[in-house]
Symmetry: C2
Amino acid sequence: MSDPLRLGVAGLGTVGIGTVKIIQRHADLIARRAGRPVTITAVSARDRTKNRDADLSGFAWEEDAVALARRDDVDVFVELMGGADGVALAATKAAIDTGKDVVTANKAMLALHGQALAEAAEAKGHVIRFEAAVAGGIPVVKALTEGLAGNEIRRVMGVMNGTCNYILTRMEDAGLPYDTVFEEARQLGYLEADPNLDVGGIDAGHKLSLLASIAFGTRVAFDAVELEGIGRVSIDDIRRAADMGYRIKLLGVAQMTGRGLEQRMSPCLVPAESPLGQLQGGTNMVVIEGDSVGQIVLRGAGAGEGPTASAVMSDVIEIARGSRISTFGQPATALADPVPARATAPASYYLRMGLADKPGALAKVATVLGDEGISIDRMRQYGHADTSAPVLIVTHRTTREAVDHALARLPATGVVMGEPVALRIEAV
Amino acid sequence: MSDPLRLGVAGLGTVGIGTVKIIQRHADLIARRAGRPVTITAVSARDRTKNRDADLSGFAWEEDAVALARRDDVDVFVELMGGADGVALAATKAAIDTGKDVVTANKAMLALHGQALAEAAEAKGHVIRFEAAVAGGIPVVKALTEGLAGNEIRRVMGVMNGTCNYILTRMEDAGLPYDTVFEEARQLGYLEADPNLDVGGIDAGHKLSLLASIAFGTRVAFDAVELEGIGRVSIDDIRRAADMGYRIKLLGVAQMTGRGLEQRMSPCLVPAESPLGQLQGGTNMVVIEGDSVGQIVLRGAGAGEGPTASAVMSDVIEIARGSRISTFGQPATALADPVPARATAPASYYLRMGLADKPGALAKVATVLGDEGISIDRMRQYGHADTSAPVLIVTHRTTREAVDHALARLPATGVVMGEPVALRIEAV
């Protein structure tokens, strides 16, 4: 058996402690699978005095993650601090500079700095692995980078923020409005300190941009992800979508079209009977479509101590085994600059609006849609108690551009009350 | 870019031709991802004159797969002939003897000879990869061997024979009896030449034994898989299981219990609403449960040209990238000899029997069950036109041993007509 692989673990929150516990609990199992022991040399965290659910007495303690990253007795820097910049980034750079491999769960850092970090690491012959950064315990980075490497990828989709999926399914199950469930989620500790990272789709958008880079061989382009959060999804939308056989999910979709790379993270309708539609609560799901393999669906826990630490350990064991794969599946310098395209792939749309209770109101709306080349598949008008009638329209396949043009013209009809909602119906 | 990786492809059936086509279609993509070109040096198949859907003119032709395997200008022997023994085995041994890596889709060969082949390859520092042997395009071997390598695996389950799942879902959807749908499947070309490989659970059992070896670090023990085919599943069973919220699947389950390694491939009831219960038609699904990751579900096409060739290419690209993982995730010589255990994990069971239309008949059955410590959760007696009343019983959790004892005692009651059916209800 070879020399141990020596880790420096920066960040002792949930994931860091979970990683320490796996290494302590399964030392023999890991050594057999990795072909060599995996040990922890040193750890660091903000607060040394905090009571933690693991025995850290065998590890050196570093106050400073950068110092940890520079230690000569560390082979792999395991970055579990989080944060796109600051000490996580500084320490990761220090690790690369001093010739370490890196394992990280930091989707924000990679979404913003992944290209530069990967280039720096690869120039020195080192690797950065990030299975834990996307969809928790689901081995989706590995599936895309390695398991489906013989495919031209057509589309990658996923529900990758468990908190948003919890909120949307809880709204449906309990019939509660968004604000109430949002508050519940906050009190349960499900939300990030800045909740917009979750409900604004930013966290899931980071993840999508990383998968898109692998899938399409393009540089990570988080700033080109169209982001729309779940804050405008109403309990009425959820109920009415259900009436028509759909569920609403915060769905990430990346696909390469004739016009460029499309990356969207937005509330979408999916068939209630589809695997994505069936997904309840905090579970994550990623769907990958390749030209040879067809559709592969991966499902599992997207967060939590055990699942995320499982993903960290997968990367650590791969490094111990000698796997030297490029961060994004091909050399970072070979990644193309993507041309961003806005939702050019046609789809059906769900439109909801309040219609003034006047003769000819519906005709005016239908005329606007028709002018934009949008044809109506199904329409429902619901009973109402006030002067505004809720109207739902499911369109035939059209473009986002046509929908946006139509939405922009609706106020001028004088019959649409408030702001209409348009949600894409993703064919899954 | 490094030297090309040179393949010798033996077997030009569906999967072989699929592999050739991917290499021809995606030469550049593969070279970027693998870090080097992947080329085919030579091919072999039984019949050179057969019209095939690919241009083979650039490859040397070998009449004999063994000669192909021995060629000096081949780095990786790609075995896509099938068959547990015979030329596939001889050629694979020749490839190992002459220092090649091996990629194979041959579950039967590995289930019977995997241990010896892996030991031989590893002694020479070579690898055998077999992603295509299990669940077609789903990267499940990789998920288990690498993606979840930090976990102690608790249970591996799966629907891994698309033909059986097609038959069972078609029976339910069309309300047709087994024999009729079996004949349909035969005419559609879905069945192996020896259909018992499919409907007897043998093919799926091969796959399960390979996954169990990786999951539990044990030598492949196909002969210890309890096999029960789908031939005794009646349309009545399917309907009545559905009445109670279940679907019947040919489900493989491997788990390590206190008494040893349990491997079963048998028709089981699973909740209709579970991912396994929702699986329709020829699609495959594998469920992996680990101590840290919880439950991971993988779903995709389990057969067919594109999906299976996608899995072959995943292995080829991993070898091109320099990955040198052991066949079963740890050195073959380190694998333990498993102690086989028969269905010791307790479960609920579904029992169906015909009951004589006599006073006290049900009491006699209930007494037998009670004597064996089996308590009844739900019971239904159906209306009937003849002297035998169909009775269904769902038990509380009990052991297979107790169920078998009870079944053996039922004939002596004189009230049970024909042979009772007992199907496990797998908690998923």
